[in-house]
Amino acid sequence: MREEALIPHIGVVTEIRQDTPDVKTFRVVTPEGEKPFTHIPGQCAMLSVPGIGEAMFSITSSPTVAAYLEFSIKKCGCVTDWLHQMEPGQQITIRGPYGNGFPVEGDLLGKDLLFIAGGIGLAPLRSVINYVRANRQRYGSVRIVYGSRSKDDLVDYREILEEWQTDESLEVYLTVDREQPEWDGHVGFVPSYVTELQPDPSQTVLMCGPPVMIKFTLAALKELGFADTRIYTTMELRMKCGVGKCGRCNIGSKYVCKDGPVFTFDQLGELPDEY
C-alpha cells in the first residue's frame, strides 16, 4: 500500500515540564528513542490521543535539537486536557511536519530580526529563535519582545532567564499585562511596549500571539514605518487533515495547513479578512 499522510506514527512522551498554570511542554521521541522527523521552524505536527482526537501544535524545539521534538501545549479542550494529565512514558500518535515554516534558510538570512510574541504564541517563534542562536553568525541582530498576562504565564521562563537573557547576542524585552509582586520588569500590553521601544523599521518582524495582540501590534508597527512585506506571522485556524484536503483551514484560495501557517502581512492582504 502507498504512503498515507493521515496514518500517524507512534510517539513516546519522555519529559513533561509545567511551564505555566495552563501550559506544559512535552518532549516526544519514537518508540526507538529517536527524533520523529526533521522540520523547519514554524512547522506543525498533528498529535493525537487515540479515542479522544487529534490536534495541531507548533513544533517549539529547534531543528538543531537532534534528539527529540518539543511541543508547548495550552490546556483548552478534550485533547489538550488529556495531554495535560498524562505521565512520562505515555505513547501518543504523531504525524507531520506540516506547513511551510519560516524562511530561515532564505529571506531571513543576514537580516536583523525582531521577534514579537504573546502567551503561547512563543511556541513557534522559540523554534526560530533557538535555530538562529545555533547559527548565530548567519543572522543580524536579534531582539525579542515577549509578553503574557503575568510572570507565571511566560512560557519557557527558565530558558528565557538562563539562556536567552545571558546570551549577549540577543536583546530580550519581557512584559506582563498587570503589576504583580516579584516583578520589577516592564508592565503593559505588547503593542504599546513595541511602540515604546521604537524599533527600527529596517528589521524583519516575526510575530505570533492572540488575534488582539496581532491586530494592535500590526497597527503599531505600521505606524513605526514597518512594511507589510517585512512582517511575518503564523496563522491558527481549525485543522483536521493538515494536508490541504479537508477544507477546514481555508482562507480564500489558500489552505493554512499547506500554504501557511507562516505568511507575511502583504500575503494576508491578498486574502479575505476571515481569520
Binding site: 498515507e4 496514518i7 505513547q91 490541504g244
Partner: protein, 338 residues
C-alpha cells in the same frame, strides 16, 4: 466505437456485473440513486441521480484506521485494503467532470490513498445527456453534455447504445465485451447537435460565468447582497452533501467496544462549528459560511486551478435546498442579472 441494440443491454449488464460490481442509476420509491445492478430494475437513462456519484470514491463515512490504547501503550492498525474493481455506468457529463475536481484535491500530493485506490479500480462509463432537467446548467461551465468524458462514453440513440473508450483503462474494459457489441462508425450518433441545442435552450444555460473567476475576490467579497442571499439559510448542509464537488471532511474517533475506529466523514462549511476555535470563530454568522461555499466554487477554486470553476452545474443544490437558495441564484444576484 462499439454499439449494441438496447434489447441486448441486459445481457451486457449481466456480463459486466459478473466480472465486477456494476452500479447504475435506478429509479425506486420516487428517487434515482446509483444502485447495484440486479436485473429487472427501472434504470434511469434521463435526468440525474438524487445523490451524486462521489460516494463511490469519497464515501460519506469511512474507516481510516483502527487504534488501540491500553495504559501507556498505543497501537495504530493500518486497515486499508486495495479497492475492488467496479463499474459506474450512466454517470452524467456534469458528474464526470466533478471527478476531475475531486481528483485535483485528493490526488494532489500527498495523494489520498483511500480515494486513489477507488479511482484506480473504478471504471466510469458516462452517458450523454439526452434529456436534461430544467435545473441543469453544465454548459455554463463549458461541459459538453453531448460528448462526456469518463473512461468510456455512452450514447443512447433510437434503439441503440453506442460506446466509445476515452481512456486506455476504458479501452481494455470495453474490449472485454467485444462479443456482445459490434463495431460502429464514429459518426453513427446523429443527435449530438440535438443534445447541444436542447442544453443551450435550458432556462439556466445562459448563466453568466464570465464575471466570476480567481481574480474576483475584491469584486464580490464585501457585497451587501450576501446578507439578503443568506438570510434564509438554515445551515443544514444539504447543498454540500448533495454537491458532487464538495469535499470537506471531518476526522473523528469512535469507540467500537473492541477498540477505536478513526473515521472520516463528510463535513460542511455551512455548519456553524466548522471553523470554531477556542478564541472565536472566523466565520461568525451564516452569512460568512454561505459566502464561503459560493466564493469557494466561483472564486477561490478557480484562483488555484487555472480558472476552472468548482461547480459543474448539476443543479442538485437547486433541487434540494429546503429554502430555494442555490448557486444559480447567487450567480445571478452577484452578476447583477435579472
Amino acid at each position: 466505437m462499439r454499439k449494441l441494440s438496447l434489447v441486448s443491454l441486459p445481457l451486457l449488464f449481466a456480463a459486466i456485473d459478473e466480472r465486477m460490481p456494476l452500479y447504475l442509476p435506478v429509479r425506486s420509491d420516487g428517487r434515482v440513486e446509483f444502485t447495484r445492478w440486479m436485473g429487472g430494475q427501472d434504470i434511469a437513462f434521463t435526468g440525474n441521480t438524487d445523490r451524486s456519484a462521489k460516494d463511490f470514491f469519497f464515501p460519506q463515512s469511512e474507516e481510516l484506521m483502527r487504534l488501540r490504547r491500553e495504559g501507556k501503550r498505543v497501537e495504530v492498525l493500518d486497515t486499508r485494503r486495495e479497492a475492488e474493481d467496479f463499474v459506474l455506468f450512466g454517470v452524467r457529463p456534469c458528474d464526470v467532470k466533478s471527478f476531475d475536481i475531486l481528483d485535483s484535491v485528493f490526488l494532489a500530493g500527498p495523494v489520498d490513498s483511500y480515494y486513489a485506490t477507488r479511482r484506480e479500480h473504478g471504471v466510469v462509463v458516462s452517458l450523454a445527456c439526452h434529456l436534461p432537467s430544467s435545473t441543469c446548467f453544465c454548459s455554463a461551465f463549458g461541459i459538453d453534455a453531448a460528448d462526456p468524458a469518463g473512461d468510456v462514453a455512452a450514447w443512447l440513440a433510437g434503439d441503440t447504445l453506442y460506446l466509445r473508450a476515452n481512456t486506455e483503462k476504458g479501452e481494455r474494459w470495453l474490449a472485454a465485451y467485444d462479443t456482445l457489441t459490434e463495431p460502429s462508425d464514429e459518426n453513427a450518433i446523429a443527435d449530438l447537435q440535438q443534445i447541444r441545442d436542447k442544453v443551450s435552450a435550458l432556462p439556466l444555460a445562459k448563466l453568466n460565468t464570465a464575471v466570476f473567476g480567481g481574480d474576483k475576490l475584491a469584486t464580490f467579497f464585501d457585497l451587501p447582497d450576501w446578507e439578503s442571499l443568506s438570510v434564509a439559510c438554515l445551515g443544514c448542509g444539504t447543498c454540500t452533501f448533495v454537491c458532487p464537488t464538495c469535499q470537506c471532511y471531518d476526522i473523528v474517533d469512535f469507540y467500537t467496544g473492541h477498540g477505536i475506529q478513526r473515521l472520516r466523514c463528510w463535513d460542511s462549511c455551512m455548519y456553524s462549528d466548522f471553523t470554531k476555535m477556542a478564541h472565536g470563530n472566523p466565520r461568525t454568522t451564516q452569512r460568512e459560511r454561505f459566502r464561503q461555499r459560493f466564493m469557494h466554487k466561483l472564486v477561490y477554486y478557480p484562483a488555484e486551478h487555472e480558472g476552472v470553476f468548482g461547480c459543474v452545474g448539476c443543479g442538485r443544490c437547486l433541487r434540494k435546498c429546503p429554502q430555494a437558495l442555490h448557486i444559480a441564484k447567487v450567480m445571478r444576484t452577484l452578476g447583477k442579472e435579472d
